[in-house]
């Protein structure tokens, strides 16, 4: 192992990490927004929109991100839609993630027993009040572990960004291996930098999950 070489590669990897993180978080933010809108559409059974949302979710859950990115980056310009690699990465990750977030959030909403809404309404709340004060807060907290798992998944998926010429970690590693053939050093740095990016989120996820499990909502346990 050539430590000197590794040290000299560090700034390149750091830049790549920052780029991955920037686009990754943009994509995650877009995914969350999309996911919330789509989940509400499904939960409230809005006509027409619901069918569109379902089609979108099925389409993006059943195709690889790599193929989605190729379509955004190489195919769309042919019909006049030209996006920068940055925008493609964000949009691709956001569209893919939106489909996953929507499913997670929707099952959080649907898993709140109807009687919760009924007992709120029996107190005189309107449907909207029951949703806002009773259903939504419970759905949000029960979907958090799933949402965090989706974030980890999305950050991992960024590893295909290099195909649309974004200089992310994979791109950097491949490039350096090609140029200087310091394979081991490059791969070690690759792993280390992915861990730097993913471990904190993953730990955060399991911490939240443990906390939620400890503070188990509902009274399934006592009866």
């Amino acid at each position: 192992m050539d430590w000197g070489v590794m040290l000299s590669y560090l700034p390149l990897y750091r830049d790549a990490l920052l780029l991955t993180l920037r686009i990754g978080w943009q994509g995650v933010a877009l995914a969350l927004a999309l996911g919330v809108v789509c989940a509400l559409t499904l939960h409230l059974r809005l006509p027409v929109l619901r069918q569109i949302v379902t089609a979108y979710i099925e389409l993006f859950r059943n195709t690889p991100l790599l193929v989605q990115l190729f379509f955004l980056y190489f195919a769309l310009p042919k019909v006049g839609v030209r996006l920068s690699p940055d925008a493609c990465g964000t949009l691709g990750l956001g569209l893919l993630g939106g489909a996953y977030m929507a499913e997670t959030f929707r099952s959080g909403l649907d898993n709140i027993p109807t009687i919760q809404s009924e007992s709120a309404q029996s107190l005189g709340m309107t449907r909207l009040q029951a949703f806002r004060y009773v259903i939504l807060p419970q759905a949000v907290s029960s979907s958090v572990p799933g949402l965090v798992a989706n974030v980890v998944f999305l950050l991992k998926e960024t590893s295909v960004f290099s195909t649309i010429s974004l200089m992310d970690l994979m791109f950097t590693a491949k490039d350096l291996i090609g140029m200087y053939a310091k394979t081991l050093e490059c791969l070690t740095l690759l792993v280390v930098f992915y861990l730097i990016m993913l471990l904190p989120v993953s730990f955060l996820g399991s911490a939240i999950e443990r906390r939620l499990r400890y503070a188990e909502f509902g009274d399934r346990r006592t009866v």
């Binding site: 919760q116 709120a120 029996s122 107190l123 005189g124 709340m125 807060p137 188990e216 009274d219 006592t222």
Partner: protein, 246 residues
């Protein structure tokens, strides 16, 4: 009659082909405690859910103080505030503390001032012996305690009538008593109640009037619970009561 509080007229309820309530008439006077008994699946719980318009009905009407209670009516929120309901499975809001559970409707629905509502909530919690649990979450309470909180929660909107839907059915036997005590106390203070229960001794002790429901129809109605429970008039009620003997 002036003192009629709740009136069901020709209420008809069905799920698809399955008729649950058949042209049902029932009145509850102010201050009266009416207990509905009957075999499982006879429509008792559906009856209560219809009173609160949690179920839509296919015929007839439900009147409270002479005003219709209808699911799609504009005043449904106001009407439901006048009808308190307690469910078998308590259904407290798991993400809120006991005090917040009890205060949610007064603050958000009735827009009352917090200090005043909170004082009332604490007084009521005190009355059911749970004032010291105000900051706990529902999961930290036993079933009986949760059910007492659910009763307080229903009382907070100052309902004119309370609907109790098998409120002890999910409880361990030793907790049944503490919940029924609270209900007896309410009855003593003149609350109007429509109760569905399987606790025959309790029904006998609390009822001003007993209604025996079977297959969505009122088979027998008695203003004398003692007589009803010892010698029911109809053969169907006799058969039902016999199932409680060993």
């Amino acid at each position: 009659m002036a003192d009629i509080l709740l009136e069901l007229r020709h209420v008809h309820k069905r799920y698809g082909e399955n008729v649950v309530l058949r042209d049902l008439d029932l009145t509850v006077r102010r201050g009266e405690v009416v207990v509905v008994i009957g075999p499982s699946g006879c429509g008792k719980s559906t009856l209560l859910r219809c009173v609160n318009a949690l179920e839509d009905i296919q015929g007839g009407e439900v009147l409270l103080d002479g005003q219709p209670v209808r699911q799609e009516a504009k005043n449904i929120s106001q009407m439901r505030q006048k009808i308190g309901m307690v469910f078998q499975s308590y259904d407290l809001f798991p993400h809120k503390t006991i005090l917040e559970n009890v205060l949610l409707a007064p603050l958000k629905v009735q827009k009352r001032q917090r200090p005043e509502a909170e004082a009332e909530a604490l007084a009521l919690l005190e009355r059911v012996g749970l004032a010291d649990r105000r900051d706990d979450y529902p999961r930290q309470l036993s079933g009986g305690q949760k059910q007492r909180v659910a009763i307080v929660r229903a009382l907070m909107t100052h309902p004119e009538i309370l609907l109790l839907d098998e409120i002890t059915a999910a409880l361990d036997p030793e907790m049944v008593h503490e919940v029924l005590e609270v209900v007896l106390d309410l009855a003593k203070n003149g609350s109007t109640m429509l109760i569905v229960t399987h606790e025959m001794a309790f029904a006998r002790a609390i009822a001003h009037r007993v209604v025996f429901l079977e297959n969505g129809e009122i088979v027998e109605e008695s203003r004398d619970p003692k007589a009803f429970f010892t010698r029911p008039a109809t053969e169907r009620a006799q058969r039902f009561l016999r199932t409680f003997e060993y």
